[in-house]
Amino acid sequence: MMDTGVSKRKFKQVGTRPARPDGVDKVKGRAMYGADMTAPGMLTGRILRSPHAHAEIVSIDVSEAVALTGVKAVVTGADLVAQDDIAMRDIQINVLATDKVLYDGHAVAAVAAVNADVARAALKLIKVTYRALPHVTDVDAAMAPDAPVVQAGRSLETVPAGMSANVTNQCEFGHGNLDAGFARADLVIERSFTTAATHQGYIEPHACLASMTSDGKAEVWCCTQGHFNVRSICAPLLGIEASQLRVTASEIGGGFGGKTAVFIEPVALALSRKSGRPVKIVMTRDEVFKATGPTVATSMDVKIGMTKDGRITAGDATLRYSGGAFPCGTVEMGAQSAFAAYDLEAVRTLGWNVLTNRPKEAAYRAPGAPQAIYAVESVIDELCQKLNLDPLDVRIKNAATKGTLSSYGPTFDDIGLMATLEAAKNHPHYSAPLGKNQGRGLSAGFWFNFGGNTSVSLTVNTDGTVSVSEGNPDIGGSRASISLMAAEELGIGYDKVRTIIADTASLGHNDNTDGSRVTFAVGLATIHAARDVIKKMCGRAARMWDIDEDAVTWVDGAAVPAGDNAGKFPPMTLAEIAATSLQTGGPLAGHHEFTADGAGVSFGVHLCDIEVDPETGHTSVLRYTVFQDAGKAVHPDYVEGQMQGGAVQGIGWALNEEYIYGRDGRLQNAGFLDYRIPVASDLPKIDTVILEIPNPGHPYGVRGVGETPIVPPLAAVSNAVARAIGMRMTSLPMSPPRILKALSGG
């Protein structure tokens, strides 16, 4: 970890690396994931899915399935409450189709039965009559004026008349005079790129157990990145009030954004309501690929001008994203991110979202940014090659810094891009020799990071320990980070604190675990909750000492007189105050509820060495180093894990991962054998360099770190391949057949 010397605060707990609190349970198989929950009398739920890419549902006959022995309930879209709000209606008809199926795998009906065999048999007895409709799965084809219309009437007012009805929204960002900027350039390069849709690839499939009784009270246990969001969506779909539905998040085996959406929980609740028994649904891997949310698929044009000495004079990008069969705003995030790393006088990004007959896109780490930045960083790299410039020097020359008017509008405050670029420049990796068929690539990356709605409750127990209840599922080590921040603020040991994820009935609303928000926002709420209880503990000490409450302050885990005039008393520790708390005023607890804002943006730089086998087209990653500004790394092990994990996922996007559709519009590779994610034996150790440029919006300087690491790998790997094979690939993934084709001049 590189110490920039910017952070002045001396931490005692924050920045240490205690053993992960969930480690033993996960290693020993005791951790309760979504599929591990059981209940007496539980039924097995299974879902019937569309075999068509696009079709009208003429009729559904469930009579034979209902009559099958062992079947306790069958539901269709008619069993959910029709929603007026358009966003909720999209979720409703995605969860169970009503009039049309919009993609291969779209849910049509579901059964609850005494076991999985009976449930599968019942699905075969449901008679669905379809009228097949023309389909379109390619983003550019869907923009053609005569393309099959996925959903009519979904274009927003931002879309000009005359475009395909599949174009749902348009956005534009930027500033300056593009024409003048390109006129100043010594070289202008314009390229078109495509990227495939990719899946988050979490190992744990979606799973839930739902129980709804005849009096309308309901419980759901599920693997999710946001159980409050599950409640917000399921309650109206079932026509019940939020207070009657309690949702508890299980341990989660990966999410990466894909578990911010709801797919099976309303179905399980509807089946439970109808059958009067608890119902468990666990998706198969085939269902996960076909019916949950991959990323957008994209087609992009990028034009950049540069002077001979490496100054970027103008940048222009047009992004065409498809988030599947429902409108989505991911292209807006891509368009804002595309040029965010650079200080540009003239820049524009134009974005379009297009409907296709693919599953509804779900978030995936920095949604929209990796694709756009891949295209921009590829063109910058090609300019560097053609102008014979060092690619790191060029990025340093153009890097955004404090005071830069960003490409998406706001002026940057303290940011860490320059520090990460200089760290990469000075790292031994950048000057290490390369061999035959090898290449080195680099890319900068950016993500916004968010705060959001957050509730935390912190209890001081009578034995001097502390319990923290927070409402965000722990997907990246947040329980450890929250405990560290609570311990830091209270001045006690980390081992005295335990953080748990409370259910929806136990705390105020919490936004999803997304947007790299949890360590920042929940940490901030925890600090405030700790300060709340510290104030109360100072009050208790003041009463014991019979002095004014304002004359007591908190130092190193104990109440102490604020000064000589307050009186002479020995420090009263948290444990001492806790031990008498039931006699001095009652239980001690602090809490904090707020909308956290002020999350600082984050930048990263990745260096990648690869070797291409000219006979097979296979690309091996030889060396990889991630440099990222974490603001303050609360638990560096987890920060490094985020940096490594993001890099590995991005390498997968670059080299192998893609949704492949046949001419029939059906997904051809819905499984890990045919959808190739990187595994440990594919990769070298991913080296990490954490930089700490404090976020002024957080008392410890914390920035989110979870999303930025997936942004640079696409271009870092692609730029390395371009330098290794002497030609630029403009479509991802750069799978062996594509590289062989390029090498053979195809």
């Binding site: 534009e172 911010t260 990071n449 968010f450 947007g515 909308t595 999303e707």
Partner: protein, 81 residues
């Protein structure tokens, strides 16, 4: 009065201007005044917008204060993964 920078696709509802001025002391007043002065922005604002105030992005905090000399940038509603 505060000066508000508009992202490109919403400028059409302000006669193509990149910057407009409104009387607002916080995020909510900003949205209310924009809708009053530029009714064409209402669909976008109803769908959700974010605002960057002096470089920090706010998604929902209606009472986030805006000073007369604050840099204010209207942005689409942001989401992460």
């Amino acid at each position: 009065m505060v000066q508000v920078t508009l992202f490109g696709s919403i400028r059409a509802h302000a006669d193509g201007r990149a910057k407009v001025e409104v009387e607002a002391r916080n995020f909510k007043e900003l949205l209310d005044r924009l809708v009053e002065q530029y009714p064409g922005m209402k669909p976008q604002i109803d769908r959700g917008v974010s605002v960057a105030i002096d470089g920090l992005v706010y998604k929902e905090a209606w009472f986030a204060p805006i000073k007369p000399d604050s840099e204010v940038v209207l942005l689409p509603y942001m989401q992460g993964g």
